[in-house]
Symmetry: C2
């Protein structure tokens, strides 16, 4: 095991991402002490039961005391309150980062509260599942996934290198980006897909002519794919919508425009146009598989996992 990168890491928030980090830090020997904080007494007790850390504090300011690295993993709407709460406890020279799905809003919320003596480097690991809470995490969640850091103009080069090394220690590949560009990229690759998934599941739920039991029985024909994203944490996604609304509204407008064109092709029976629209999208899936960002097994491997005995 190599020398730990940090003496003490403090994890503020211990949900899917926070608890995956706790496990990855332990597994990779990335820190000597893991301090865990959660506002919820129940969640903190569960983290202790799972043995995710070394120190458990309901008071975030206590958890971050003497920490060299502080990682805030809370719904983005809570970032400002957490920054305010931990500010007094932060050690000079500490690195403070986060894992939020929006970056401009997190910076606007956190930066005003943080002392100049700490290195604030916002981040966002592109990894997750539809589950939430301290039980949902696992050590290799970040393996082969990208982590985007959005350093501010005056960011210390050494601190940035140490944080990058930390994410690499968790198995991730590190990218850097402007916060505004991050927010636009994520609006299309993550926020719009989740919103659309929530929406279609809601539309199906409202139908009178098709029963709920029919939707469930026949969901393997496509619908079930959307229910995974639509089972994600509602608090997290409410906050994403509220905190990246400009980019999301822009992407929603483009999506709706394109959908109107498709709808028109269906209404007018324009088979040539439909065929063309349905052809160009195949290449992107191929590229995603080649880039190692999805597995090369039909049906996401669901079938292979459910029927392991047959070829």
């Amino acid at each position: 095991m190599p020398e730990p990168l940090f003496d003490k890491v403090a994890l503020v928030g211990i949900g899917l991402i926070g608890s995956s980090l706790a496990r990855a830090v332990r597994h990779g020997g990335l820190a000597t002490i893991i301090a865990i904080s959660s506002r919820s007494e129940k969640t903190l007790a569960r983290a202790r039961e799972l043995g995710l850390g070394d120190v458990y504090e309901q008071d975030a300011a206590e958890a971050v005391r003497d920490a060299d690295l502080v990682i805030v993993s809370v719904p983005v709407g809570a970032s400002g309150a957490v920054a305010k709460a931990i500010a007094a406890g932060l050690k000079p020279g500490a690195i403070v980062t986060d894992v939020g799905s929006t970056k401009a809003s997190v910076i606007a919320q956190m930066q005003p509260h943080l002392p100049d003596s700490v290195h604030f480097i916002p981040g966002h690991p592109i990894a997750g599942t539809e589950d939430s809470g301290p039980d949902a995490g696992f050590a290799d969640l970040f393996e082969g996934r990208w982590c985007i850091l959005t350093p501010l103009p005056d960011t210390d080069v050494d601190a940035l290198a140490r944080l990058s090394a930390f994410w690499e220690g968790c198995g991730a590949m590190v990218d850097r980006m402007d916060p505004e560009h991050h927010d636009m990229v994520l609006a299309i690759v993550s926020h719009l897909p989740h919103i659309i998934a929530y929406n279609i599941v809601g539309t199906a739920d409202d139908l009178e002519a098709v029963t709920k039991s029919e939707v469930i029985k026949y969901s393997a024909s496509g619908f079930r794919d959307f229910t995974r994203l639509a089972a994600s944490d509602p608090t997290m996604w409410r906050d994403v919508c509220l905190h990246n609304s400009d980019a999301i509204l822009e992407m929603l407008a483009r999506f709706s425009e394109d959908l109107s064109a498709l709808q028109r092709a269906i209404r007018w029976g324009d088979g040539e146009k439909l065929f063309e629209m349905f052809t160009r999208t195949r290449a992107i899936r191929r590229s995603i598989i080649e880039a190692g960002q999805d597995i090369d097994v039909p049906d996401f491997g669901r079938h292979a996992l459910a029927h392991p005995e047959k070829p």
Copy 2:
């Protein structure tokens, strides 16, 4: 192995569904002879290489000669032409069925060509993957999935029972439904999800401010889920759109209406409404898993399959 249900089964079309049927028939000993027909010489040659059948005919009328069960597995737009082509070769008393994703249109296309001496019972197995062609099929594709039969008013009870037994022999559970109701149910559980997936992947492909490489790199944040459906066979989906347009346009209108409401909640920062919209959708996923229509593993089991060594 039980007595085969049929002496000779003819499969007209040998893509994902046709070739899965060939394998299931062989595996379950459901017929003595499997005859395979494809209009494409190359596809037929590949089916022969794979050993999917006993007899191979490019001429569908030859393939169906003396068959007790004929299963048409072609894009729904080709149903009429196939019915016309096979009509003269059909044996009196034979059961003729299909696997198309739309039912009213398939009936309207096929029925006028089929002689009164055969039992025409339209069907639709709710199973598949994003792959196509004779290599894509597998014997247990229908295992635990529903197959919907949409018998016509004068359907022979005995023929219906034999066809149901056949699908059960393939591992499926059988349901019966009116063709019109089928088309409406499938419009929401299958057609709309595919159209939306194609659309969002197209929208992402058109962006100038976000590069294709960024879309691919960060696709694990949600987008990649949609690329699977959007990698489905374009001919099949063009035909579905052309042949179930009324029900699809109705569902698209509802979806767009709901999306406008969601968009408005985002624009006006209505967190309470967003939270409510994002909460009610979780229960449906739970029900789908409990009904055995998806696996109970986070991320569709992708992660578990990619990292089999770690817990």
